[in-house]
């Protein structure tokens, strides 16, 4: 049986299939919940972390400053808010990266 399996051709899509590791349910101002299919863990994200997550997935190496510019562009924050925003983003990045959520693997939303 093993040899038959070994010699079976791989499905055509085997090398191109995308793996969705993280599933996300976004509740807007209530934050989001992320399910990690690799570990089976479920994580609660606050609204800022939830907003940063898709940015981080698009740019896994992004710094807090780069994300802050993107965040400020898409929010009501003013230049005066920047130091506080950077500090909060840094804290959020530490948590997201600690959860393994800086992976470039795609996300699926519910």
């Amino acid at each position: 049986v093993n040899s038959a399996l070994d010699s079976a051709p791989l499905p055509a899509s085997a090398n191109t299939a995308t793996v969705t590791r993280f599933l996300v349910t976004d509740f807007g101002s209530d934050g989001a919940v992320v399910y990690d299919t690799a570990s089976g863990d479920t994580h609660l994200l606050d609204p800022l972390e939830a907003e940063l997550l898709p940015m981080l997935v698009r740019q896994p190496e992004a710094t807090a400053v780069a994300l802050m510019h993107e965040f400020v562009d898409s929010s009501d924050a003013t230049p005066d808010d920047e130091p506080a925003v950077i500090e909060r983003i840094e804290r959020a990045l530490i948590r997201l990266r600690g959860l393994g959520l800086d992976s470039a693997l795609p996300l699926e939303s519910f």
Binding site: T25, F27, D30, V33, Y35, T37, G40, L44, F110
Partner: protein, 307 residues
């Protein structure tokens, strides 16, 4: 044939021989026992339920039997068996019927993985269900008992069975488990409610079961649409207060209160997300049952007006 249509001797005989099949939609349970107290309480609590014909497929074979041996003469004990195998430590014989209820809960929670199973009471009005998830001692069962004695339909006191495909919720309309002070509280609130004799000194304190209303049992096969998730908390003499609760936190709490969320993996997460996504989520503090019932009735009325 309803359980109440069986003569008590016939019920005892069927239960002794292991021929008593109870229809607990969506399951069938075979309940065998040689204990008179178990026969008496099954007859009282499940009178409005159907029995199943002899050849019916049985989901759960349970037995609660008198423990044999010299110790049984000194302190009579009963033991729970599942599929012919002993499960759990024996308990005093007076707790035999409680073992039936706890054992049935365990059977469903550990085996019925076609459903997403959540530790929550479920009640319904006008087709819309309220899920009441709570940690022990929060007042879930007391609130559930008060509401079903006030016109709400009982789906379940302990286990919400969420159909993963449709998102609808089912229950078995089984008896409501009351503990300690809630026994007297329900007797005072609803004097016509039928309760078993309180059994003291169990692991959960003094326990009694409340008979489900006949109207709930008649509609036991009807699922309901989850509409509200309410986290109850009893605080003595506190005014009834309902406030919105964070939905992301609710999802996490529901996952924590589920018996098989982890078994379903990504499908469980998706089903839980859909469940929370379709419900409005609230925290509810109450200290008086009349006030609590009024709040829930108003919740249902608002939804009816909205739709």
């Amino acid at each position: 044939l309803k359980v109440s249509e069986l003569a008590r001797d016939e019920l005892a005989s069927q239960m002794r021989r292991g021929e008593f099949l109870l229809d607990l939609p969506p399951f069938i349970a075979s309940i065998r026992s040689d204990l008179a107290g178990v026969v008496r309480d099954v007859a009282t609590m499940y009178g409005a339920f159907d029995t199943a014909p002899p050849a019916t497929f049985v989901d759960f074979h349970i037995e609660v039997l008198r423990e044999r041996g010299p110790r049984g003469w000194l302190r009579p004990q009963a033991r729970f068996f599942f599929d012919g195998q002993p499960a759990f430590a024996p308990l005093p014989e007076a707790q035999g019927y409680s073992m039936v209820e706890w054992g049935l809960n365990w059977c469903v929670a550990a085996h019925a993985h076609e459903y997403l199973i959540i530790h929550a009471a479920v009640i319904e009005k006008a087709g819309r269900a309220v899920l009441l998830p709570a940690r022990p001692g929060a007042g879930k069962s007391t609130l559930c008992a008060a509401l079903v004695q006030s016109g709400w339909r009982l789906l379940s006191d302990e286990l919400a069975l969420v159909d993963i495909e449709t998102g609808l919720v089912r229950g078995m309309a089984r008896p409501v488990n009351l503990k300690n002070a809630s026994i007297a509280a329900i007797r005072s609130f609803a004097p016509a409610a039928v309760l078993t004799s309180p059994v003291p000194d169990t692991l959960k304190g003094t326990v009694a079961l409340m008979q489900p209303p006949d109207a709930s049992v008649l509609r036991v096969r009807e699922p309901a649409e989850p509409t509200w998730i309410v986290l109850p908390r009893y605080v003595a003499n506190a005014p009834a207060e309902v406030v919105a609760h964070n939905r992301a936190q609710t999802l996490l709490l529901m996952a924590d209160q589920s018996f098989n969320y982890d078994v379903h993996g990504a499908n469980g997460f998706a089903a839980m997300s859909r469940l929370v996504g379709r419900c409005s989520c609230h925290r509810f503090t109450y200290g008086k049952m009349h006030e609590a019932v009024a709040v829930f009735d108003e919740l249902a009325s608002q939804e009816e007006r909205r739709s």
